[in-house]
Symmetry: C2
Subunit: 561 residues, 2 copies
Amino acid sequence: MNANSVKSDIEIAQAATMKPIMEIGEKVGLMPDDLELFGKYKAKLSNEALSRINRNENGKVILVTAINPTPAGEGKSTVTVGLGDALNRLGKNAMIAMREPSLGPTMGVKGGATGGGYAQVLPMEDINLHFTGDIHAITTANNALAALIDNHLQQGNELKIDQRRIVWKRVLDLNDRALRKVIIGLGGPVQGVPREDGFDITVASEVMAVLCLANDLQDLKKKLGKMVIAYNIDRQPVTVSDLGAEGALALLLKEAVKPNIVQTLEHTPALIHGGPFANIAHGCNSVIATKAAAKLADYVVTEAGFGADLGAEKFLHIKARSAGIKPEAVVIVATVRALKMHGGLRKDQLATEDIEALTTGFANLKKHVETIESFGLPFVVAINRFVHDTDNELKVLSALCDQYQIPYAMTEVWEHGGEGGILLAEKVLKLIDNKQSNFEALYNIKDSLEEKINAIAKKVYGAGQVDFTAKARKQMQDFTAQGWSSLPICMAKTQYSLSDDPAKLGRPEDFSITIRELKPSIGAGFIVALTGDVMTMPGLPKAPAAMKMDVDENGNAIGLF
Amino acid sequence: MNANSVKSDIEIAQAATMKPIMEIGEKVGLMPDDLELFGKYKAKLSNEALSRINRNENGKVILVTAINPTPAGEGKSTVTVGLGDALNRLGKNAMIAMREPSLGPTMGVKGGATGGGYAQVLPMEDINLHFTGDIHAITTANNALAALIDNHLQQGNELKIDQRRIVWKRVLDLNDRALRKVIIGLGGPVQGVPREDGFDITVASEVMAVLCLANDLQDLKKKLGKMVIAYNIDRQPVTVSDLGAEGALALLLKEAVKPNIVQTLEHTPALIHGGPFANIAHGCNSVIATKAAAKLADYVVTEAGFGADLGAEKFLHIKARSAGIKPEAVVIVATVRALKMHGGLRKDQLATEDIEALTTGFANLKKHVETIESFGLPFVVAINRFVHDTDNELKVLSALCDQYQIPYAMTEVWEHGGEGGILLAEKVLKLIDNKQSNFEALYNIKDSLEEKINAIAKKVYGAGQVDFTAKARKQMQDFTAQGWSSLPICMAKTQYSLSDDPAKLGRPEDFSITIRELKPSIGAGFIVALTGDVMTMPGLPKAPAAMKMDVDENGNAIGLF
């Protein structure tokens, strides 16, 4: 491929011809009245449609996960889209269920979360900008709650909230480091009660996690009511229900809770809905979207954030368990480039063939394969080809897979769309037909918090030992006393390493992991275990992506990607 | 009318049957492809539609304004809607152009800005909640700019911004007093540069004013580029263009800049778009919406915020001038209740007949009548009937109007919708047919800032004298040196009084008004003159309206109004 002829993602997206979303919906049995249109190419599924399709049979859920991410990129979203397209090319009725992107990283450095090359969801511009407003509604609900809390302090503090122990933070869907630590309420008695506060990015809000784990609007309201916002002067938790605000929050979210339908470049229907952080939260699109896709299609391809140690583990222990979703197969995405980084290369060394680095780095893939096996799930590795991969490297990687009897398929979805995912799709279909999914959690939900954390760290990460700080031990006691010990764990750990040290690539062994602190997300229904400082409000780089963005006279985006 | 049989606004709205917005659009020549749907009952006008209708003739613009508002309510939005409906009942092709409501006041105390009773725009729930996301896009653009400014400081501050003189504030579309004065950037060198900051409500953002005064997307971008964000260490203004962010901001606003079409209870098409604060900004819906409505309909009924001293003055001197809109007639809304308050009664005394208070309070209406006359505009007073007005009171008010040869009409639009506005509509039509609009500004745009402020204070408010603080005098010098003196003035004054003292109701005379400070809104294209502390971030009351809000099992709003 000639580098000059390579089109950018946005060029490919803008050159594409979309079909009206009504037509896309019809393919999976959605009538015009089932769709609440946002322009011609985006829609929300109506509450009536969601109720009606609930009577349908469940399609089969295929989870796409990956090795630990590196700066080389592995293309998990791209494979997710390409696999959906490939399944449709093979005559199957397939849908995709993905997260919606956050504007903060888009304006910063990241690029979109809508796939890439010829495996994208459209309209890419809209999805990467405001889409159907879901994240704005979450920002609003989160901050309306914050305003109500501070107003409660101002108006007499009937609930006896300890203003030093308010845990509810404000959010913006932006990268804005200057808001990480702030003091609010300055200016005298009529301007509020002064206190320390901070802003997170919206996708780190518990409201986002709650929306993504809710089964419907009423369940959403119930979960919102359970969110802990502060502790009172007796150190007892104060919830949204105590404040009486869950009705208003649910009202603000009544449209956001409906899943969004769009299409891929090849007109495969895709539900894009919800996008919680994959560290402080569980990193998967909404339960409502995944379940709706399974009711509409025979095969649903969905992804989870980061590598299998974080995303797949949380998909399985948190989302799948709470929603009763049973995945039939798992795709583990790996690239030669990323494995070479796991084998010790720097990003600027990736253009050169390096069999040794590849072979060393393969250990990272192997660990994730073992993890998925331990969940009792059939799987296939997708070797996602990049332009500079040499035939020799690909041959060696295939041989390594063969050596360990790891099923694999080459994909070229970035360059060839669904056609580049046919081999993978055929493998996945064969897997589903021939291999029973015996999904089993790696811990019993009734285990103690410590036991559950140990199970994840040892079985999924390969840690030899788990250390708890005194603070974390005290919190485990307190949370157990509160009756919260039967919730699943949501680990907050670096995505770059199986360990809690982002520099340890490949497959670190016999390491110990430290649990510094716990955080209750009672509304979402999990206990976050933090292994280090987790960034919940990113910063902008020296040259933010926003500086290249513009809009032409016809209203088309420029420089979005 | 039996009080028990009175339905709430939301009950009336939810019981209404809307027509598909495509059908509403067809009435004024909009084809299905001209509309970008948001569900069945809301749409944005496409860029193509806006370009095409630009070739149409201009319809006649009717401005609805009012006496100084009181807690008794005057019903300006309700009359605007009712008049539009009445014109259609009389066989005319009429449209309405109104502001979109802000969520902050909705969650606080205020109630909707979508009319009331049987003169409402629909879908009322959606319009009062997230509508089509315009205000969220403005929040995002405003705060993306703030993040870019703080990132510029963090990354070396090439523009030499004086961090004590950053004038760009962050915003949220909420009432949140604790954010009025904050310190940001705490936590050490990687968490930003510490500085004083504050949040406004989104509708007070200059981005909102810019969007409402832009003629199209490219004009929007140009105006965004001119916004002053800070002063550098040489005390020179730093603009969005200096930072290079106007492209990204325009991109974030490319959908928000398109006007929204909805319908009234009687299926009159209404463009609802933009809603800047009426104190720190100019308080009118967007130029794009008013102009589009004038291209689509023969008659456009539009309103401006607060009383004629603020809203109409700014509509005429800022919006109409910059957009080249020439109103053909003005409706001045007054109520017996509000005039009685201007005559000295308290809110709890309004149920009793009081001719003396009414007669005294009439002076307020008379002053606004004189102001509109001085602009050379034909006008009619709408006496908006309330249930408790006595026949005697209405007779006295009519007699007062007759005595001063003030044309008037009774309206009962809240109770009877368009039918209740027929008398008014007939008067307005007669006025337009028989009386020439000789619109002339009350000052020359080339006058000095001081002369322009004097003209407004003396001619519109009736002030005897204008005092400038030393700071304001210094700013007038500086702004003139910057080349900003040929911009119009946007007065920030209490809406409750013609003077700068909210307690002085009725028609205060020989008062002096103090200009404390000026604020340049160079993007929007006006200089704000502040006569006192202007609240740009409201607070919540002891019992916020949000606490009564909820959503039922079918996703319908409860307790919204």
